[in-house]
């Protein structure tokens, strides 16, 4: 790990590490261990302490239609956010990479929504699509579409996807643009000399060379859709109508805080912890590979 000179001191390194380690242990390790313990126990209703129940909490979850529905909703949601978000960002980045003048300006004009809090993005999009006064439903109505995401589950899901894509677009754009810059011009020119048009050049040369960036963004966007969109959903739909936008993190919050069902909430947390850990491991494997080549 190292090639730099080191100091000799028996106490100082521990003192320097203490704040970080203390916070890590108190607010990360300890709660996570607690979540896992709670996931395997049952709170006795009469205050008799915790009862170890093996996998009963998990079993209940998998037999619970509401939970499985939330799993499906989360998968559809993250699929929509990822595919739409990466597609639009890649299109814009490919366009900005055409040696145009003012690329820096476009970068600024495209990246700023990333700085908007997901919760605020939810409010802004909710206002724009407000069934009573919103500007978009007004125009949709003249096209014969009746928009009301407060009672129509499909429309609510679409709206949540749109606003999440909007929020994350700047991030994806920056990484795609950096990836495109890294592709040698000579490769693209060679393809052009061989007579490939711009579309063919893109799919035959550029896109395959971008795959490390695409893969990285895929993981980041899945994590974003799974976790960071809590505020967006809370501000926009509160999981409704009739649970149609209740993604897994939102359900943990509802079950843990609103319904005080700690065992179930902890089991749900544990499942998500395993999921994030798996994604992280995958990402690491990929980063290691990128370092080698």
């Amino acid at each position: 790990m190292k090639n730099t000179a080191t100091f000799d001191n028996k106490v100082l390194p521990y003192v320097l590490l203490l704040p970080q380690l203390f916070i890590t242990l108190a607010f990360f390790v300890w709660p996570s261990v607690n979540a896992i313990v709670q996931a395997f126990t049952f709170e006795d209703a009469f205050g008799g302490g915790r009862v170890f129940v093996w996998f009963e909490n998990f079993q209940n979850l998998f037999e619970d239609g509401a939970y499985m529905r939330s799993v499906r909703i989360t998968l559809v949601f993250s699929f929509g956010v990822t595919v739409l978000g990466l597609g639009i960002a890649l299109l814009l980045a490919a366009m900005a990479n055409q040696q145009l003048r003012g690329v820096t300006t476009y970068k600024t004009l495209l990246v700023w929504p990333y700085a908007v809090a997901p919760a605020v993005a939810g409010v802004v999009w909710g206002f724009m699509f407000n069934p009573n006064v919103g500007i978009v439903p007004y125009f949709l109505a003249s096209a014969g579409i009746d928009w009301n995401h407060r009672i129509n589950p499909g429309q609510a899901q679409l709206l949540v996807i749109f606003s999440a894509v909007w929020n994350q677009l700047g991030y994806n754009f920056i990484f795609f643009l950096a990836g495109l810059y890294a592709i040698p011009r000579s490769l693209i020119e060679a393809a052009a000399i061989d007579g490939a048009g711009p579309v063919r050049r893109f799919f035959a040369v550029v896109f395959p060379l971008l795959s490390p960036t695409t893969f990285f963004l895929l993981v980041v966007n899945i994590i974003y859709a799974f976790f960071s969109t809590f505020g967006l959903i809370d501000a926009l739909t509160k999981g409704g109508p009739s649970g149609s936008t209740q993604i897994l993190v939102y359900k943990i919050y509802l079950d843990g805080f609103r319904n005080q069902d700690f065992g179930s909430s902890a089991a749900q947390s544990t499942i998500l912890i395993i999921f994030v850990a798996a994604l992280t491991v995958i990402q690491f494997k990929y980063i290691e590979r990128r370092v080698h080549y």
Partner: protein, 282 residues
Amino acid sequence: MVGENRWYRYVAYATLIVGVLVIAFPVWITFVGSTHTTQRMLQAPVPIWPGTEFFRNYYIVLFEGFGQSSRTPMMQMLFNSLVVALGICIGKIAVSIIAAFAIVYFTFRFRMTAFWVIFLTLMLPVEVRIVPTYQVVANFGMLNSYSGMIIPLIASATATFMFRQFFMTVPGELAEAAKIDGATPMQFFWHIVLPMSRTTIAALFVIQFIYGWNQYLWPLLVTTSEDYYTIVMTVARQANELDGMIRWNLIMSVAMLAMIPPVLVVVFMQKQFVRGLVDADK
């Protein structure tokens, strides 16, 4: 270059301009909404050009406050947001730079263990383990306090890792020379390592400020007193108040206030922002 064509350029420009306009549209509508009267905002369709109530609306929101249950002026919320955002971002940088310094410049038992504990466990987003973390914070008596809103969020694997990577690119001769000159480790840290880390600190500052300012779930859980509400929480609360007349013009003013600081930071510190994003995910 070969294969270039005027028409591709036109298509590229057109696509980018459409993209920029579509992306700006929601915020334009928000801004326009914040410049009209409440009555005007209750008639569909809402206006698409600014009105005359800009100063009045922002004055009410900032200094008088509005809402069903509360009338705390938004100055208080902006102040809370600033404290929380700066607290999180300075805290993260401070805690991480000394931890990385310890890991890179000292040989001690458990060095790798410490590194991996920090690194692996911080991968867990707060959203995953909200209930148990809340219980810990409640046990420490940190509900309804700035420290409760800040401290649980200031450990940072990202920042520790970024500082570690940076320190490892610093030539070993520097530390060697400092040792020969009789500098203590902390003198080496203050006079050499810290000044050299400027660019890394600036990049981290930008991304962590945005992270801190935009926190939503955590402040929502640990505060019940309006004195500690952040501006981001307040926007969502006001927009979801169901009873009574919804004062969209004022809600949109609050939304603008919640967006402007982090957006300005990104726009004016774009170079540091991009560096922070790209380095943070290496």
